[in-house]
Symmetry: C2
Subunit: 421 residues, 2 copies
């Protein structure tokens, strides 16, 4: 049996005017200060200008993922303005990369005051950082670090963040095996250059069914959400445990859900002991606080604490992937703060709304040697400057509290709706 995969672009699918009903929202004007008071649709989406630009782009790359083209200059707050002048209420926020809405004045002010030197010049941040580097990392990242984490490494995107955190977890795992900083044997030294053991050891990362951790080769091996991401790409044969499939409403399925989580943790422990027996120990488990691509799947704080305990028992790292959940969307800066763990995670990774990729880590997980977690750019200082403005605004306006309040209103409303249908 052949299975058909999505290969039509939004442009092909939307060539019929599916969005003709959007006309009903038309007529909302921009307010005096330039912000929009509502959606304002002038064409179907994608409109003629977007279609023309799409034609140009398709000539030079596979651009089938493009939905429409955007006028970022005219977009404002929650409203995105497309190439055809349509004003759309944006609930998607650039795949979750816009935490404060479009063209926030605080971001513009920060760029003006801090300057664009590191945009004009491309620094190798790991060798020649700008003078304001440590202070910028402090303001943008450490001021909102998860409890117990005092160190941070910036990288380029979410996959890059996760994959470098894997590397750091492998290095620290081997350090712990050796009982100290790296002092490799001649055999380790000679074998590593050509991908052989013992220099390149057999180690694995445990991930969960339905997980999404990125699209580079190692992170893709930990991603189990959609076939099209993985098909035809060779993978590392790393273990995969079930993520709890809870039943709702939670208060009606307390016992069933406890059993489900217990069963999942038993499978996690099975994976750890089997991997160890097979000579490919698990160096780290990676998990999302909420599976997003995997279908909005949640688990209890007890489940995550149980996972942390098993990691500790086997000398592995506990890594929380907050690429989607980080930066305030849950009412906590980091979704995993809601679990109130007895001790911090070993690694917390981020990207998307944080403007750059990277990871927090505990001091125990710092590599002893320089240049082991490294590349030429090591992140993008201009993006960290932007993040500094975002974090400052979140703190000053107590936005996490607002997210919590709004979330409660929405949840209560949805629960009420549920009982009235």
């Amino acid at each position: 049996m052949a299975v058909r995969l999505l290969n039509m672009s939004r442009f092909a699918r939307l060539s019929r005017p599916l969005l003709r009903t959007t006309r009903q929202y038309s007529g909302a004007a921009a307010s005096v200060d330039g912000s929009y008071t509502g959606p304002d649709m002038k064409t179907t989406v994608p409109g003629p200008k977007s279609k023309e630009l799409f034609g140009d782009l398709m000539k030079i790359q596979q651009a089938g993922g493009v939905q429409y083209f955007v006028d970022y200059n005219k977009s404002q707050g929650n409203y995105l303005v497309d190439a055809d002048g349509n004003v759309l209420l944006d609930l998607f926020g650039q795949v979750g990369s816009i935490p404060l809405g479009y063209n926030h004045p605080a971001i513009k002010e920060r760029i003006t005051s801090q300057g664009i030197d590191t945009l004009v010049n491309r620094p190798a941040l790991g060798c020649f950082p700008p003078t304001d580097y440590a202070q910028t990392l402090q303001d943008a990242l450490l001021s909102v670090a998860p409890k117990g984490m005092s160190e941070v490494m910036t990288l380029m995107c979410g996959s890059c963040a996760n994959e470098n955190a894997f590397k750091a977890s492998f290095i620290s795992f081997m350090d712990r095996q050796r009982g100290g900083p790296v002092n490799p044997s001649a055999e380790e030294y000679a074998s590593a250059l050509y991908n052989k053991g013992p220099g390149c050891p057999k180690l694995s990362v445990l991930s969960f069914k339905g997980a999404f951790h990125g699209r580079l080769l190692a992170t893709l091996s930990c991603t189990h959400s959609k076939v099209i991401h993985k098909l035809d790409i060779p993978a590392l044969d790393w273990p995969c445990a079930p993520f709890p499939q809870l039943k709702y409403p939670l208060d009606q399925f307390v016992r069933e859900n406890q059993q489900e989580e217990k069963k999942c943790l038993e499978e996690v422990e099975d994976n750890f002991s089997t991997s160890q027996k097979n000579g490919v120990p698990i160096a780290t488990a990676i998990i999302e606080p909420i599976q997003a691509e995997g279908g909005d799947k949640h688990a209890s704080p007890e489940f995550f604490e149980g996972l942390q305990t098993i990691c500790k028992k086997y000398g592995a790292s506990f890594m929380v992937d907050e690429v989607q959940t980080g930066c305030g969307g849950t009412g906590y800066m980091w979704a995993h703060e809601a679990w109130d763990l007895p001790e911090p995670a070993d690694f917390v990774t981020f990207a998307k709304k944080m403007q750059i990729g990277g990871f927090y880590y505990t001091s125990e997980r710092r590599t002893n040697e320089a240049f082991r977690i490294f590349n030429t750019y090591v992140g993008d200082h201009m993006r960290t400057v932007v993040l500094g403005a975002i974090v400052n605004e979140m703190t000053k306006r107590q936005l996490l509290g607002q997210v919590k309040e709004t979330g409660e209103v929405l949840l209560t409303g949805l629960q009420k709706l549920e009982t009235t249908i």
Copy 2:
């Protein structure tokens, strides 16, 4: 035997005033228009201000790779100004990421004219590109594309570029095996989610001894230059062929070098046939035009053409890693243009001086389906805008010609020096 690895930072190593002789260059002043006329050393390097900033940074990350801190605002042309006001003649260019010198006015002008909308807002370029997107890719990247290559994909950094090009090569390899666009069997479909074959096939990438292709897990498996990069990181068991070790002066070792290259190509072909026999066919060979980290190793155009021929024979892609060599440093925009290949490479990857990572590819290597070579950010439009200014300046001022002229003066001088010693 234990082997000692570099684990001291430059700060520890340079705590003695090794650079005290730099005083002899002191006294060169800035010219009237703000550019520098020579180095001007005020302290040893790193100076007291750099040391203080280093102390701050070391508290929040493993910063042992840092050499000194930089005042990017004051740096100009070939002169880098550090945190202590030392003016240094910069021959390192941020690990090769500064093609036109510091604070080039053309870059500033371009940023002013094109605007910073995509810095203030972080677009998901693969879904919602800005209206000037195709035009910017055209100006910055396709106007200088290697001959025969009409498509380009932007990504984040060099490793990310290579690893995504690997993915594109795997997808196109499997498409060719199937004899058409993806139409997976139910078995392929079901197995891919959990890293199993046939959905996740056994495929490999051929790299060369001494190569450096990056530090993510798959690219690190193709990197064979320094042990410290690879130690303790699990690797894919992919094949590795010898890179020619030529003898100099070339005109005195013509026969020996021809034999050396022939021998290397025979080993390449052995690798292809063995990998095929073992059921892990090579989907792509990746090679640098000049091995840099590997020790300034060159090979003849005939060698590279021979490699391309073998790739074609086995239905594999021929991938040229121009992360270090691209963007004009050899007097060609792309170093491999000097080989005058009978047909284009299948993939050419770039980063560093190009400001962003990415790869060119031939139309035959385009994936039929959207979202297969994809991530949230898909590059950084602001960096592509900067690249547009750089490329325009290179063309307008015929800088490639200048590089060739200067290179000839230097080479002739060095050859003369060689015979006079």
